[in-house]
């Protein structure tokens, strides 16, 4: 791919991630943006950046853009280590990308080395609300008592009581989430290089965890997740997403140095 500006439209270079120099995108790989320009690499030394041209007069961030970004990185992660670059990073031109790779070559090489042979999985548990709320009621006599005070009265009259009840229930669910998250982490740790806990994204979340797993341990990890899912099947749905690029295991911060 050669550098060019299409007519008068300003363009930039969207940066997806950094990979070892021997990685090449497949010929049909299309990038973000309405036009979906081909994905190419900007190589430097032992590394390369996955990039595509984007038009600068159209904002990015549509659902399809996010999906495209994720699919490219996840697909790459199954064949080679990849350092995802934060979604939305656009450089002026390919020279700017080369400059970036030059400046941080050794740090990128080291980070890629640490990710060799590893993929990320996200494991997310979501409570069956009815079951978990029933547990909360059963465990907390005060919740039952508040329910009884509220029942049959107008919403306005019970505002304070309902806020108190809700806070109590919310805290009880949070305690369950903490306990279940610990349980998930303990269950998965033996089958992963690293496990990190992510913040809940929904009030019904039972656990939200990311794990860095050796490619040759993927089956064992899958089995461990399935076992946990069986164990929790009455009260939560457990979902396994991946293999993913290591979004939650990249700590590099470009300092501008």
């Amino acid at each position: 791919m050669t550098e060019r500006t299409t007519g008068s439209q300003p363009t930039g270079i969207f940066l997806y991630g950094v990979v070892p120099a021997d990685v090449e995108p497949t010929a049909d790989a299309k990038g973000v943006g309405d036009q979906g320009q081909p994905v190419s690499v900007v190589p430097y030394g032992d590394i390369a950046a996955l990039v595509s041209e984007v038009s600068l007069d159209q904002p990015l961030g549509k659902p399809d853009d996010l999906r495209t970004y994720q699919q490219l990185l996840d697909g790459t992660a199954t064949v080679a280590p990849v350092l995802p670059v934060r979604f939305g990073t656009v450089l002026a031109d390919r020279d700017a990308v080369t400059e970036l790779l030059t400046r941080h070559h050794d740090a990128f090489v080291a980070a890629l080395g640490e990710l060799e042979g590893l993929v990320e999985y996200a494991v997310r548990g979501r409570y069956h609300d009815q079951v978990v709320l029933a547990e909360v009621v059963a465990d907390n006599p005060e919740v039952t008592s508040l329910r009884e005070q509220i029942v049959g009265q107008s919403e306005d009259a019970t505002m304070n009581l309902r806020v108190r009840l809700g806070e109590m229930v919310s805290q009880a669910v949070e305690e369950k989430r903490n306990a279940d998250t610990r349980r998930m982490v303990e269950t998965l740790e033996p089958f992963a290089e690293r496990v990190v806990t992510l913040p809940p994204s929904h009030e019904s979340d039972a656990a939200n965890v990311a794990a860095l797993v050796r490619s040759d341990a993927r089956d064992e990890f899958d089995t461990a997740v399935e076992k946990l899912a069986d164990e929790w099947s009455e009260r939560a749905v457990v979902r396994l997403l991946g293999p993913l690029a290591p979004y939650d295991f990249v700590t590099l911060q470009e300092t501008g140095g």
Binding site: L15, V18, D28, L56, P59, L60, G61, K62, P63, L66, R67, Q70, Q71, L73, G75, P84, R86, F87, T89, V90, A92, D93, A96, L100, A122, H128, Q130, L133, A134, V137, V143, R147, V151, R162, V163, L165, G166, E167, V169, S170, V173, E203, S204, D222, E226, A229, D230, S233, V237, V238, R239, L240, L241, P243, L244, Y247, V250, E254, T255, G256
Partner: protein
């Protein structure tokens, strides 16, 4: 590349609802990855991310009231079975409203947001 790439799911319970939704994609990729300093980012413009504001604030009065409603609508086992047919899904539905709202926002609201 296939559409399934990111959403591959093991044979866990949850069945058809297990594939990667847009909410999954947002949660998986947004605000992650290497941060490149603005110095090099001569060309960064016009990036308008959807839905960062769609993330849920976990503790708020709204949340408490939703929890209270859900618990109040809860049909406990010892209560009359006949009622649960009518109202059994109510609490859960309420609790899940927010998730549906978010998906709607993300799915259909993005263009609107982008125009702001």
């Amino acid at each position: 590349m296939t559409l399934q790439q990111a959403g591959q799911q093991g044979p866990l319970n949850g069945g058809g609802s297990g594939s990667a939704t847009l909410a999954d994609v947002v949660e998986t990729v947004l605000d992650k990855g290497v941060v490149i300093d603005a110095q090099v980012n001569v060309g960064v413009i016009g990036i308008e991310l959807i839905n960062i504001d769609a993330r849920i604030v976990i503790a708020s009065v709204d949340t408490y009231l939703r929890f209270a409603d859900a618990v109040n609508r809860l049909e406990l086992p010892q209560q009359q079975a006949g009622l649960s047919d009518l109202t059994g899904g109510g609490g859960k539905g309420k609790m899940l409203d927010k998730a549906a709202e978010i998906l709607d926002d993300i799915g259909t609201g993005s263009r609107e947001r982008e125009k702001r």
